[in-house]
């Protein structure tokens, strides 16, 4: 088991090194930030001064070393566009994204597992079929359209909820939260549903598929042959076996919520890191793009590690021989 965890940690470090290299390559090879930052009327002196200020005048290897060293400290230099330290910009934007992601993730998880179990157990029922059809519409409906639809219904037509922004926020020790004000909570509703709905349908379909797979297993037949109640069979025997694969994908889904937040944040002009990233792409603001990439990979790698540890909690087979895996 220890060997397994060590291997997973090594893999995580590899992922971080690879993304780090991608991020660094972006700095080195992509575009000329100086050209992006200075307007048409520039002198060579302006260019040189800025190059030196951004550290672009140094050799490749030195830049790489400096990048790794500084990235580890969370320092990604100045934003080409705003001229402020990237870490400061990220820090003030992150709470908005994390709060949105947390609420959406909770929604997606509870709804997805609940509906997934329901549609698997009542496979031939009318309700299950309706939900499955709706979920297919949900998967086909791009996130941004869901957002627009919600805005149209609840903001434009009904006028119940705000269509953009975070509402009033309260600052607690450097963390801005929208949970504590009425307008903050109201502003959270539509973005959270928009972001959570797609993940919910994915999780639901996954739980359903896995559950149906498990319900076909011999031990379920045997449980039935032993006269156990349907509830015990579904929840005690089937659900637990469903959880192992579900946790993998769900874990990844929760990670991708942070990435998908980019879309939702754009639709609702939610002042989080996703909106920051999309603006960075539009203006080829490499330091912000690189920092976002590194931040996201650290989060994903962290989530993956947690998922791996959860396996051990659920599957006793893994506790004995570390090499077996549920994936």
């Amino acid at each position: 088991m220890l060997a397994y965890i060590i291997r997973r940690v090594a893999q995580s470090i590899l992922v971080l090194l690879v993304t780090g290299f991608v991020a660094f390559s972006m700095f080195s090879f992509v575009g000329d930030p100086v050209e992006n930052m200075l307007g048409q009327e520039r002198t060579q002196a302006d260019v040189d001064r800025l190059r030196e200020q951004l550290g672009l005048d140094q050799p490749f290897v030195v830049q790489y070393g400096k990048f790794l060293q500084q990235a580890a400290q969370g320092n990604f230099g100045l934003s080409y566009r705003q001229g402020r330290p990237v870490s400061d910009i990220l820090a003030e934007r992150l709470p908005a994204t994390l709060e949105l992601a947390a609420v959406s993730g909770l929604l997606a998880l509870m709804g997805g597992i609940g509906f997934g179990i329901f549609t698997a157990i009542r496979r031939r029922g009318v309700g299950a079929n309706v939900i499955m059809t709706l979920s297919l519409v949900g998967v086909s409906l791009p996130t941004f359209l869901i957002g627009i639809l919600l805005i149209y219904v609840f903001s434009v037509e009904l006028g119940w909820l705000p269509s953009f922004g975070r509402g009033d926020v309260v600052e607690i020790g450097g963390w801005t939260t929208g949970f504590l004000t009425a307008s903050g909570l109201k502003a959270l509703v539509l973005p959270a549903i928009t972001l959570g709905l797609y993940q919910m349908t994915l999780i639901m379909r996954l739980v359903r598929t896995e559950m149906l797979e498990v319900l076909r297993m011999d031990y379920i037949r045997f449980a039935r042959a032993r006269g156990l109640r349907e509830r015990a069979i579904n929840f005690r025997h089937a659900l637990k076996n469903t959880l192992v694969p579900v946790i993998t994908i769900t874990g990844l889904q929760l990670g991708s919520i942070i990435a998908f937040a980019i879309i939702t944040e754009t639709v609702f002009q939610w002042p989080g890191v996703g909106l920051l990233f999309i603006n960075a792409i539009q203006f080829v603001d490499i330091p912000v793009m690189a920092a976002y990439l590194m931040m996201i990979s650290v989060m994903f790698v962290g989530i993956n590690l947690i998922v791996d540890l959860l396996y051990f909690a659920i599957d006793p087979r893994l506790r004995i021989d570390g090499k077996a895996g549920g994936h």
């Binding site: 090879f29 992509v30 297919l136 519409v137 990844l252 999309i278 792409i281 080829v284 994903f300």
Partner: protein, 317 residues
Amino acid sequence: MSDHQAEIETRRTPGRLARAWDSDLAYSFRHAPVAMVSAAVVLILVLSALLAPWIAPYDPFDPGSLNLMNGFTPPGQPNAFTQETFVLGTDDQGRDVFSTILFGMRISLFVGFSAVLLAMVIGVVLGLLAGYLGGWVESVIMRVADIQLTFPAILVAMLIFGIAKGITPPAYRDQMAIWVLILAIGLSDWVQFARVVRGATLVEKSRDYVQAARLVGRRPFSIMIRHILPNVLNPVLVIATISLALAIIAEATLSFLGVGAPPTKPSLGTLIRIGQGFMFSGEWWILLFPALTLLALALSINLLGDWLRDALNPRLR
């Protein structure tokens, strides 16, 4: 149970694909009204996109034909100034919404198909290489696949788009945007293809005839390919269909976010981005019709893919 095993054995007999294609698939299609309707919708949309230059009443990319006076004409009603009527109305610049949708769908479908083709080619080739060569080639390919899978495809596509945008000189950015989109979406979506093909290759590699070919000193690669490709045709087809829907949605999303097709060459996503701005001022048609078209396209392809997966029933998750 032994009876079950017997049944599974008979299902695996060679020629299954050909038989399924002849009888079972066609039968299942005839008895799946949803699949039939979806296929019809896809067919109509693809055809009208292909024939857009001929069936569109206006050429939205010809500045000469535009009349700003026609701006914001509601659907089906004559314009207050010019008395011209447009089936689905016009946008702010007086472009016929129906025509922009037809041409926009052309771009969406072109990007979608090309991206899936690219992903398929990359995935199949890398999958074959990984499965056949094994060793470090396989390790590298599958490790890259794993790392890429760690990130959502849309994020990878955005990143590729951002990098490519940085590399291209600003003057060419609009021109290159479509190709960059194809590259970004295609590169973000090859992993699934590679996994399936690699799996099939590994199975095939262990077969007796491959071992035999190896023993007599022949390179079994070409014979293998002839055996692998029919085996992976079903799952690859299913993945490609579902990927097509995903690629179209990805393209629309990127364009909507402003990191895709430019306003001068609008795809459905760009049109929705433009239309969103007029949602609050009451010009709903500029948003609604492109959105409905995108939904119809994505939904019918998804439904088709769903049916195909059930009908062919490859072991897909």
